[in-house]
């Protein structure tokens, strides 16, 4: 089934392209093929400096493309971290060690004095200069955590650091998702007693209501152009998929499935289609369906007793959870090749996948023994990483664009 590498294989193996570009791009990946970067000329003092240097090192390893080494590196990155006003700055120079070509020579800075955020910024700059690829270290996650009064939204960095609470609704929150500009979060909360859908503006700190109809108002996904929200509403007597214009408020009902229910819509990167969950086939188990903007749906998954939680990435791949043998495996579907493949499957449940903007990694909930935490999976086969979050039941990570 798969032209796919198995772990530990040292020979070069062909993989799909997942860069969102042409399908015939071949990526060679072996343990030995990672690029090497010498960071010894990257300098920073004090305890904040230690945090900064460790963050750069860990971020590059996490990227999957690059390994920091001390000798014989293919590339070097140097510069000294210094305060700049209220923020931090590094005059960052990145060179190809063989050709001595300078690939990058700019100040990289942030406007607050957070050495960890600064480390994320610098590691993404190094990754971009060396590989041409966008990194994920600077992105943020919104996730659901338990509090004494219920469940609230939290945000954290891609490595689990800088965790902070985002809501204090004192109730239950569900289904958080980022707007395409990374400055809004759509979610459902019981803050007024019923499941209503809200939009949190991160810049103003204000919360706005998006759907407060009778019955259930479940947050889904904001379209790539930021104009529309896909929602699941039961106001017409049954949970159905709707598109609501965020500018005009116009509501378009997309499904007519009396006596079955929809859930978890996610837009395609071009905004022309939505993948969602429904048990419309009458088989009494949730499966993935595709619907186009103009209507007309078709079933996408047939294997697995339940297929849920789809996330359609900017790389045009759909990550989802598939219940197989009593556990949720993490799967990826390529609509172009019409191929499904397993990313993670073991004695735990992998749910709520969310693509990182690098198109290579997936954040997800991993549950085992009724405890859940957040993991980072690599579709190219590097080992799963557990995020450094405090002990607790964390769920539904969604990565910022």
């Amino acid at each position: 089934m798969m032209k796919w590498m198995t772990a530990g294989c040292l020979a070069a193996v062909c993989l799909w392209s997942f860069s969102g570009m042409a399908q015939d791009v071949i990526i060679r990946k072996t343990t030995a093929s990672k690029l090497t970067v010498d960071l010894t000329e990257l300098r920073a003092g004090g305890s904040g400096g230690t945090v900064f240097l460790r963050t750069v090192d860990e971020d590059l390893r996490r990227s999957g493309w690059v390994v920091p080494v001390r000798t014989g590196a293919g590339y070097s990155a140097g510069g000294t971290l210094a305060a700049a006003g209220n923020g931090l700055r590094v005059p960052l120079v990145i060179q190809n060690s063989e050709t001595r070509q300078t690939l990058f020579n700019q100040n990289v800075g942030i406007d607050n004095a957070d050495p960890k955020r600064m480390g994320h910024r610098v590691s993404d700059a190094i990754l971009k200069a060396v590989t041409g690829r966008r990194g994920m270290s600077g992105c943020r996650l919104v996730l659901i955590g338990a509090s004494a009064r219920g469940k609230e939204l939290f945000v954290c960095d891609a490595d689990g650091g800088n965790l902070s609470p985002l809501t204090s609704d004192g109730s239950i929150v569900l289904a958080p998702t980022w707007g395409p500009r990374g400055d809004q979060i759509l979610y459902t909360s019981f803050r007024r007693g019923f499941a209503d859908c809200y939009l949190l503006d991160l810049r103003s700190g204000k919360t706005h209501q998006v759907a407060q109809y009778s019955g259930m108002n479940m947050a889904g996904d904001i379209s790539p152009n930021g104009q529309d929200a896909a929602l699941v509403l039961s106001k017409d007597g049954n949970p159905e998929l709707y598109i609501k214009s965020l500018s005009s408020g116009a509501l378009t009902r997309m499904t007519q499935t009396r006596s079955v229910g929809e859930a978890s819509p996610s837009w395609s990167p071009d905004g022309s289609q939505i993948v969602y969950v429904s048990d419309a086939a009458g088989v009494s188990s949730p499966q993935l369906y595709l619907i186009s903007r103009g209507g007309g749906s078709r079933r996408l998954t047939t294997r697995g007793s339940q297929n849920v939680n789809p996330d359609w990435g900017a790389n045009n791949l759909i990550a989802y959870s598939s219940r197989q043998g009593g556990r949720f495996a993490l799967m990826v579907y390529d609509p172009a090749l019409q191929e499904h493949r397993v990313i993670a499957q073991d004695g735990a449940d992998y749910e709520d996948p969310s693509w990182a903007p690098d198109g290579r990694h997936i954040f997800c909930t991993r549950s085992e023994g009724y405890r859940s935490t957040i993991y980072l999976l690599d579709i190219m086969g590097d080992p799963p990483l557990k995020l450094a979050l405090p002990v607790g039941n964390w769920r539904s990570p969604t990565c910022s664009p």
């Binding site: 003092g45 004090g46 904040g48 400096g49 305060a83 209220n86 004095a113 957070d114 050495p115 960890k116 469940k151 945000v155 902070s164 985002l166 809501t167 204090s168 239950i172 569900l174 289904a175 459902t188 007693g193 019923f194 499941a195 939009l199 503006d201 103003s204 700190g205 204000k206 919360t207 209501q209 407060q212 109809y213 009778s214 019955g215 259930m216 479940m218 699941v232 039961s234 106001k235 017409d236 007597g237 049954n238 949970p239 609501k244 408020g249 509501l251 006596s259 079955v260 229910g261 859930a263 969950v277 009494s284 949730p286 339940q306 849920v308 939680n309 959870s321 219940r323 749910e351 769920r395």
Partner: protein, 185 residues
């Protein structure tokens, strides 16, 4: 190189920055966003009820009236209706419970009920929200056939978020797949 004092102050600023995002600013009642990029349809909070009706089909829920959100709770001792796994059908053995609810509401004409649909812990949280809502809607439909006015029945799904039994076994799951009745007046 930074000196130690600078690093300490940096870390303190950092600590404040970490705490700050959690302190969501208090919102003045009726305040609207001044951000011009803000979509205009999203309404500020504290303006409830304006979206309730819309173009409704025959199966539509009534707009959520205040009594459902702020009415006084009544202890009615109605028994929860239980469901099979992944099913929203009111099974025959459970129908007598629904009939008791209909009888109660007919005898207490000043009362309304929120039908609260729940699921067991297994499966997707979002799919379970839809499944819980369908359970509540199935009970609502049955109560309407028994003569209860639709406007007195509101639905609310808690999905898998409010288990009544905390165990992880068949018995706990069976008890958690339920519709409860929150009666108010």
């Amino acid at each position: 190189m930074m000196n130690k004092r600078l690093m300490v102050s940096m870390l303190m600023i950092c600590a404040v920055a970490m705490v700050f995002p959690g302190c969501r600013r208090k919102r003045a009642p009726g305040a609207i966003s001044l951000d011009s990029n803000q979509p205009s349809i999203v309404q500020p909070l504290d303006g409830m009820g304006t979206e309730g009706s819309g173009a409704a089909g025959s199966g539509s829920l009534a707009p959520r009236a205040d009594v459902f959100t702020s009415g006084q709770a009544v202890s009615a001792n109605l028994t929860a209706i239980l469901f099979d796994f992944d099913s929203a059908q009111v099974a025959d053995p459970e129908r007598s419970k629904a009939e008791a609810v209909a009888q109660y509401l007919k005898s207490n004409a000043d009362c309304v009920a929120v039908l609260e649909g729940n699921c067991d812990e297994r499966g997707s949280a979002e799919y379970n929200m839809s499944l819980g809502e369908r359970r509540a809607l199935a009970v609502r439909a049955y109560l309407v056939t028994l003569g209860v006015e639709p406007a007195r029945l509101q639905t609310r799904s808690f999905g898998a978020e409010k288990p009544i039994q905390m165990g992880h076994d068949e018995e706990a799951w069976r008890m958690n797949r339920r519709v409860e009745f929150a009666v108010m007046k």
